[in-house]
């Protein structure tokens, strides 16, 4: 306590000294920075990195008052003659670097920006990945693949950061019943993908009681590995199916490595669970941004299986790609279920998940089972990532977007139960997609998360969870 008080005292003194110094030197260097009115723009790309060399021009009314390019920090600054209410800044889209685009309001319908006395008026330009705009013409059939169209529409409001699934497969004007059916199918696919990725999250929680915040980034890792093997310059040309298998193996290795090098030593050191959460968050940030540096911040697609003619089954049209995704997902879910139900190792996993101490005392090697669980989780999340990337696009944030939905799925189904995660995943996927029948697409994830909160209110143990005394 005494030491603490001492540090506090020193800090207070320091703080006071800092304020005193600031107050004591007014205008010491007033020549350096002008205090007049100015317009300021900071341009950053979707990964929040500065964008250099973009030409911006400031107008007062129709009169041009200044033009400059952004500097290496993405900063642009123009002095204006005085306060006024009719300033505009127009961006020259030709000078934007490759891969990013700006919504057209920025250069065609630039809104007026008032500047008050002495104010540095900050303006905002939202740069979006170019992928959506350029992909549009390639799409074969607007009714089956509305991604391009939706991308163009939503480009203005930039759904890129959050449109987890802009591709709902329904265009305006479809009859309600058909739309509902179509959306149920896409919801089912989305749900299966969530379920596959979420099983691991639930199993990890069951066996170690830890919420793995890095799970989403394990999904991204899988998708990116498949991308690297199938389209990258290093391995270029490996067919996607083989690349996917390699990615799943890489995912399993990542899972095993995390358990072996991080979680097991931490458990041995008796680190508390709260600390483990935070380590997993740190790890998530680390993986995610290393992936960003390695693969860039743009949205990408796999080369294969992109342009396909939709098959019509009754009123529902579906591309073969999505049918295969569905088939693979269902097959894998059944396999995982069979494994958990009937094999020795599956039974051991469920036993550890149920009660770690009891499992250990009945002769199960808990550490080894935990290692297998991590390997299985890594593999499943990587597979989920590949399927998700195939169904939509691959980008560095895909896993994080999926993570929140996976949490919703796992809580919905009951924390720690593998079957619960499957059921929860499908429910979340269906809710997210079907919500777009009545509500805007941009809110679909909000609905899925909202369902989770409602479930916590009325049935905190989840749909398949067993009631236990909590709190």
């Amino acid at each position: 306590m005494r030491k603490g008080a001492h540090v506090r005292k020193r800090l207070v003194t320091l703080l006071l000294a800092v304020i005193a110094v600031i107050l004591a030197v007014p205008g010491a260097a007033s020549a350096d920075t002008p205090g007049g009115e100015s317009l300021v723009v900071t341009l950053t790309d979707p990964a929040k990195s500065p964008v250099e060399g973009v030409l911006l021009t400031a107008y007062k009314g129709e009169e041009e008052i200044g033009s400059d390019s952004t500097d290496s920090d993405g900063e642009w600054r123009v002095e204006v003659p005085g306060p006024g209410s009719d300033y505009r800044v127009v961006l020259d889209p030709e000078t934007l670097p490759d891969g990013v685009d700006v919504n057209e309001q920025a250069y065609e319908r630039a809104p007026l920006r008032p500047v008050t006395e002495g104010q540095e008026a900050r303006l905002l330009f939202r740069l979006v990945p170019e992928a959506e705009a350029t992909q549009a013409p390639e799409e074969p059939s607007p009714s089956a693949e509305t991604d391009g169209a939706a991308g163009a529409d939503d480009g203005a409001v930039d759904d890129s950061a959050d449109g987890a699934a802009a591709e709902t497969g329904v265009s305006a004007g479809t009859p309600f019943g058909v739309a509902a059916l179509q959306l149920s199918v896409s919801g089912l696919i989305f749900g299966l993908i969530i379920a596959i990725s979420a099983i691991g999250l639930s199993l990890i929680f069951g066996t170690t009681r830890m919420t793995n915040f890095a799970h989403g980034d394990m999904v991204t890792f899988g998708a990116m590995m498949a991308l690297m093997f199938s389209t990258g310059t290093i391995f270029g040309g490996i067919p996607l199916i083989i690349a996917a298998v390699l990615a799943v193996l890489a995912g399993a290795l990542l899972g095993l490595g995390m358990e072996w090098f991080i979680w097991k030593p931490l458990r041995k050191r008796n680190v508390a669970l709260i600390q483990m959460f935070i380590v997993s968050i740190g790890f998530a940030l680390l993986i995610r941004h290393i992936i960003t540096v390695a693969f860039g911040a743009n949205r990408m697609r796999y080369n294969e299986y992109q342009i396909q003619q939709p098959i019509h089954i009754g009123p529902v049209s579906i591309v073969p790609r999505d049918l295969i995704i569905m088939g693979i997902a269902i097959l894998v879910l059944i396999l995982v279920g069979v494994m958990l139900q009937y094999t020795r190792i599956g039974k051991a996993m469920r036993a550890v998940s149920d009660n770690r101490d009891l499992a250990e005392s009945s002769g199960i090697n808990v550490d080894r089972i935990t290692l297998y669980v991590w390997g299985l989780s890594g593999a499943l999340s990587a597979l989920g990532g590949v399927l998700y990337g195939l169904n939509q696009t691959v980008d560095w944030q895909m896993g994080f977007r999926l993570l929140l939905l996976m949490f919703a799925a796992v809580i919905l189904g009951g924390l720690g139960t593998a079957y619960g995660a499957m059921v929860g995943g499908i429910v979340v996927g269906l809710v997210a997609m079907l919500s777009t029948l009545w509500f805007p697409t941009e809110l679909m994830n909000a609905w899925a998360l909202g369902i989770m909160i409602v479930v916590l209110l009325v049935r905190p143990q989840g749909i398949l969870g067993r009631r236990e005394r909590v709190g």
């Binding site: 205008g27 205090g35 990964a47 905002l124 680190v271 935070i278 790890f283 940030l285 995610r288 909202g450």
Partner: protein
């Protein structure tokens, strides 16, 4: 590469308005995690409602700025109640998942098209901070401090921001050293023991959640004063993770932990950025493009979190035994 300039920039970041509002939000998080053991991974949600509370009441409803701050604080109280009622009775990890989800849902809602008349949608709101700068007591000009210059506006935000940090520190110090604070610490150490003493654990947790949320909302408001514009993209979940890194760096469970953490964190981040950009400019890192520096900074924060927890969970001024909290 000019090392002196990098150092000066780092010093600027350490005392800039940004560090102030991060410190303020981290003080709120300290109330949650450091004293009560609540795992709030959605502090950015409180900052969001605070910031938009200010911006919307001033811009859309034409209320004066102080009333706007009041509205922001009220929004945070409501959010804390909404979050706490379903989750505070459950295990700690439910709160963590719920807070991160709710913060993200809020961001989606505020940027949605249908909310645009109120929130400005993806473009956000501007121009609500004018009355704040109108009462700026510092004459126009540039103010130098140990080789770095701040505009009179930045200085005004800094004084207000750090002033609020001081007030928040004082409040949390007094609260924590009161009987109320001792109950909070008891909850952190052993919830059941406190319950068996006849304390209403749920109510205490809720009060802590509300109080920390209010600090978060104030931080959001100050942030918006500094930025003069509010957009939903500012409130990405990464902000919360930064706050956690700051809190743990400084030392959770100490009054000055979050403040120290914020200052040191921004200092280090700025040095990291400066060195990396400098090295990139000199062609030492041919494989890195300029835009990767931002991403590497996030990776750096992640690594810092990882190493801190593993090697020094109590942070710089924390007490080790206080940080060995366990979730039940």
């Amino acid at each position: 590469m000019d090392l002196l300039q990098i150092l000066a920039e780092a010093f600027r970041s350490a005392i800039a308005p940004t560090a102030a509002f991060y410190a303020l939000a981290a003080i709120g998080l300290n109330m949650h995690f450091g004293y009560t053991g609540l795992l709030n991974f959605g502090q950015v949600g409180f900052m969001l409602v605070g910031a938009y509370g200010v911006a919307i009441s001033v811009n859309t409803f034409g209320l004066p700025l102080p009333v706007g701050f009041l509205v922001g604080v009220l929004c945070a109280v409501v959010l804390a109640l909404l979050l706490g009622i379903p989750t505070l009775r459950l295990r700690a990890d439910y709160l963590s998942i719920c807070t991160i989800a709710v913060a993200e849902v809020l961001r989606l809602l505020y940027r949605a098209q249908f909310a645009a008349p109120l929130t400005g949608g993806v473009y956000g709101l501007q121009g609500f901070a004018r009355s704040f700068y109108d009462v700026n007591p510092f004459p126009r000009g540039s103010y130098g401090l140990l080789g770095v210059n701040f505009t009179h506006q930045a200085l005004w935000v800094m004084v207000v921001g750090w002033g609020l940090v001081g007030v928040a520190c004082a409040i949390s110090w007094m609260l924590v050293h009161s009987p109320w604070g001792r109950v909070l610490k008891g909850i952190r150490e052993d919830e059941d023991a406190v319950r068996s003493l006849g304390k209403n654990v749920f109510a205490y947790k809720m009060q802590s959640l509300v109080l920390g949320g209010v600090f978060g909302a104030l931080a959001g408001g100050v942030w918006m004063l500094a930025q003069q514009t509010v957009t939903p993209e500012l409130f990405m979940p990464q902000v919360t993770f930064y706050l956690w890194a700051m809190l743990l760096l400084g030392g959770a469970g100490r009054t000055f932990g979050p403040v120290l953490g914020a200052i040191i964190m921004w200092f280090l981040l700025s040095i990291f950025d400066g060195l990396l950009r400098g090295a990139a400019a000199e062609g030492l890192l041919p494989f890195l493009s300029n835009s990767d520096v931002g991403a590497l900074r996030h990776a750096f924060v992640g690594l810092a979190l990882l190493l801190l927890i593993i090697y020094r969970p109590q942070g710089i001024i924390g007490k080790r035994e206080e940080m060995l909290v366990n979730v039940k």
